[in-house]
């Protein structure tokens, strides 16, 4: 029997890939293979035709200049992303694209980049850079461990729930203890490192959601995550 395909769309790998975002794609690809599915990866860049079909959508961080390059294109494909989000398609947006999935991002040059509003959050550029190892805690995913590096500070609106609460580090901003945001199966976060390799529960959430949504059931295979567990133990205790 041929393997069941799962389509993974990576948004703007050319301009938004700065913090090991390739790692997130690789983890989804490999785990899909290890669970017995066939990953079909689509790299979506500025000006491309948006794919007809997407089971998982991921996007990464960029520099301010990268965000400006992709901005108009992102607004153009926003209706399609919104339809997918409403339909429960799992998405992971890290750093720069997390910000642009929000309502707006006020840049350091005081221009306001309009976001696509899938997540009810807003981001303000600040002079303070929040950098370092970060440990957060989520009811659904346990401890989420990674590294943050951002000067944009994000605040949640009424219709967004935080992904996790910060145990060590800064998270969304320097004021509250929230990290990331969640709407339906869309996750926004500041964590990289990359986030998915050391947080396989999060990777499996995206994969499991996509597969069951499409095929109604999920593989019974088990992946050995011992190395991830050991890497988590070390990362947790490293200085900020």
């Amino acid at each position: 029997m041929s393997k069941q395909p799962i389509t993974v769309v990576q948004l703007y790998p050319k301009d938004m890939n700065i913090y090991g975002d390739h790692g997130n794609l690789l983890v989804i690809q490999r785990r899909l293979e290890w669970y017995g599915y066939e990953p079909v990866v689509i790299h979506y860049n500025v000006g491309d035709a948006f794919p007809e079909h997407a089971d998982i959508v991921i996007g990464g961080g960029g520099q301010d200049s990268g965000q400006e390059i992709i901005h108009a294109d992102l607004l153009k494909i926003a209706p399609k992303l919104k339809t997918l989000a409403e339909a429960g398609v799992p998405m992971l947006m890290v750093c720069g694209l997390y910000q642009l999935f929000g309502n707006f991002f006020k840049t350091s040059k005081s221009t306001t980049l309009e976001g696509i509003g899938i997540l009810d959050v807003e981001t303000l550029a600040t002079r303070e850079r929040l950098i370092g190892n970060i440990v957060t805690s989520s009811e659904e995913f346990g401890e989420i461990i990674g590294y943050e590096n951002h000067s944009g500070q994000t605040f949640l609106g009424e219709n967004a729930t935080p992904l996790a609460s910060v145990i060590k580090g800064a998270g969304n901003n320097a004021k509250d203890a929230h990290e990331g945001a969640r709407y339906k199966n869309v996750i926004g976060t500041y964590l990289h490192g990359s986030i998915l390799p050391k947080n396989p529960r999060l990777a499996d959430f995206l994969i499991h959601t996509a597969v069951t949504k499409k095929y109604g059931e999920f593989s019974t295979d088990i992946i050995d995550d011992l190395l991830a567990d050991l890497a988590r133990d070390v990362a947790q205790d490293r200085p900020r």
């Binding site: 913090y19 090991g20 790692g23 983890v27 590294y147 390799p197 050991l230 990362a235 490293r238």
Partner: protein, 423 residues
Amino acid sequence: MPYPFVVILGKAVRYAARLRGGGSALPGLFVEKISPDFIKTTLAQLPKGIVVISGTNGKTTTTKMVVALLEAHGLKVFTNRTGSNFSRGVAAALLGDINIKGKLDADIAVLELDEAHAVPFVKAIPPQYSLLLNVMRDQLDRFGEIDATAQMLEKIAQATTNTVVLNREDARVLKIKDTLDGQKIELFGLSDNLLADFPSDDDMRSGTAKATKRPDATVLLKEYSGNHATYDVAGKEFSTTLKLNGVYNVFNSAAAIALAHAVLGEETNIDTVLSTIATVTPAFGRGESLTVGGQPLELVLVKNPSGFRLGLKSFSPEGYATMIAINDNYADGRDMSWLWDVDFESLANQGVAQVAGIRAYDMALRLQYDEIKIGHIEKDLTVALRQFIDTNTDQPKRIYCTYTAMLTLRRELSKITKVEVIS
């Protein structure tokens, strides 16, 4: 504090630090504290001025080559050869070289400076010449963004009073050209057919680099194969053999020639240039080769994804036992994201015999996702090194290591083999 006292006190601290076997920067830190003008006062004496070399990758080996080229032309050169590239490292090196009256017996200073530290340095002490190598994704946890690093290099160029030498193949470095006013500009570059060997971070996920129309370069690396290189210098073609290994080291030789050419002008003797370049060996830990148990052991410093990718591309794993040692101390960068921007598939056939360092498990996890076999995982570098040597006795060995891992490994290796002392 009066200058002579600073010199004597600084020298005393340097002596004490060496007796203790301590780091190279401590005495520098000391004089910096007691006399902030120490470097400026000492370097102001030099008749040919100051050369600053900066950029993400290749500073140390390029500096070594520039020094060799200038010395071969009869100049007395002061340099911070420890690779301690913060201003305190410069102060520490000065303390070693000046006499007790504070006089530096040199014609010119060639200084390798870390991007961030170079900015206040050039503000206080404008260099006559600068060479800007590249802006790669590195230590983003320190500098924030690549564009911010590019701005630091721009400031170095703007503070330069005579000639700025720029890498034509790095778009962010080349752009600096347009911000300059009055300085002479020299470019170094690659022929179109070599470009594909040097994918930048920007090209990495969008296919290989494409040759576009670029301004003419003073020095071009035209061809490179094995240990043989052909350069185009000011329109004329020259060839030589090399002791350097690694494509990136060879490209840096073009940078060094361009800078030497800028400093020496008409006094440049191309035969001297070629015979000098032919004998330069890589700086410590940059492809350095030691002998352990009758087998060669190479140390390859990896600091960022582009450097790691080029390292893997430069050295064939065939027949070699490979070890990877990843630390995440401040000098290494704390963020492990960079490991995910390197493809390790070239190691698939041989596997990786030993994974080590503080972040050994992060590295092992990275290899798991490229489905690469791992022999042993051991965080402790001393234990790991012994295990690596003992389980691969009959094979040549290669260790890819981050900066602080390299320092520890060299210290351990010096107990069992001859390791060049870096003072």
